[in-house]
Amino acid sequence: MHIPDGFINAPTSLAAGAVAAGGVGVSLRRAAQTLQERQAPLAGLVAAYIFAVQMLNFPVAAGTSGHLLGGVLAAVLVGPWAGCVCVAVVLVVQSLLFADGGLTALGLNITNMAVVGVFGGWAVFRLLRRVLPATRTSVVAASGIAAGVSVVLAASAFVVEYALGGTGGAPVSTVLAAMVGVHTLIGIGEGVITALTVGVVLGVRPDLVFGAADIQAPLSVRPEPAPEEVR
């Protein structure tokens, strides 16, 4: 899913760069307001985890592989704002140090995976949570389904960029069909990995899962200690 340099022309890449900068900028600001203390180190771990699992390409069809994008995973664990920042950090590291994803395509890749993937997927997650009963199982299921959909959304975002500024001659409709087809398969893997990971964290530290904050066990009777208790 990482776009190399050259696929998309300069004007479209620049426009995507603006979208990416705006999305990540707003996310940074909102993360600063909303991220809880105990979730800050978790967000670092989520970024590292996404980096690692993105290396684990799994086969999806003859001669084709896919890997986790991680947008919904990050959003469910630390919230969409910090989640967007997590995925963007991963993409920057990959592009600068690992030559994975073109430098001029960084804005495109951040737009697709950190903005569309995270916020699109998060919207699906919220929708599913509203329909499903308020249980941990629902959170896991909603995470998995939303993650799968988010891959198709990110792939569709690429097709939009290709339609606007693709340098190759392939007709947009065939690119759309091919991208959605293969990324539906990859989305299944994304859903499984996301559901498994969210399930494990929910089992170990449910209080750390942003997307399950509403269904914490009724333990939080004790109020937060006041900041004045320092001395």
Partner: protein
């Protein structure tokens, strides 16, 4: 107690993450991914240009100079995990330290004798772990 649990959780999570990057990555599929496959099938793969840093020491997830392919990929992954984790920690700590309403000044990293707003509210009494950033 809680804080120690959190630290334990983070350590465990980092260990799993490092293991995935170091060991499991060597067994990942090397087939082209979805986008690359589509680009190839639809005939626009050749519009790709070489990455500017294609000769970098970690380019394409191998460590320059390490011959064994799996080990090379694994090591590059481990390096990437540590860099990403460090970068993430630093960024989110910085972001939180500059949160609006923090009151004291505008520089990153509050210091001085006042309650260190940036390093978070105090822990529950008795739990004792000091804020790691306090001087």
């Amino acid at each position: 107690m809680r804080a120690r649990n959190l630290r334990l959780f983070l350590a465990g999570g980092l260990l799993v993450t490092a293991g995935l990057a170091l060991v499991v990555s060597g067994f990942a599929s090397s087939s082209p991914d979805g986008l690359e496959r589509v680009a190839e099938d639809r005939g626009f793969l050749e519009t790709a240009r070489d990455h500017l840093f294609a000769d970098g020491p970690l380019a394409d997830y191998v460590v320059e100079g390490v011959g064994n392919e799996r080990l090379s990929t694994g090591l590059s992954g481990l390096i990437g995990v540590l860099i990403t984790f460090g970068l993430g920690l630093a960024l989110f700590a910085l972001v939180r330290s500059r949160r609006p309403g923090g009151g004291t000044g505008r520089g990153p990293g509050p210091r001085g004798s006042g309650p260190a707003r940036g390093s978070g509210p105090a822990q529950a009494p008795g739990s004792g772990p000091k804020p790691t950033r306090a001087p």
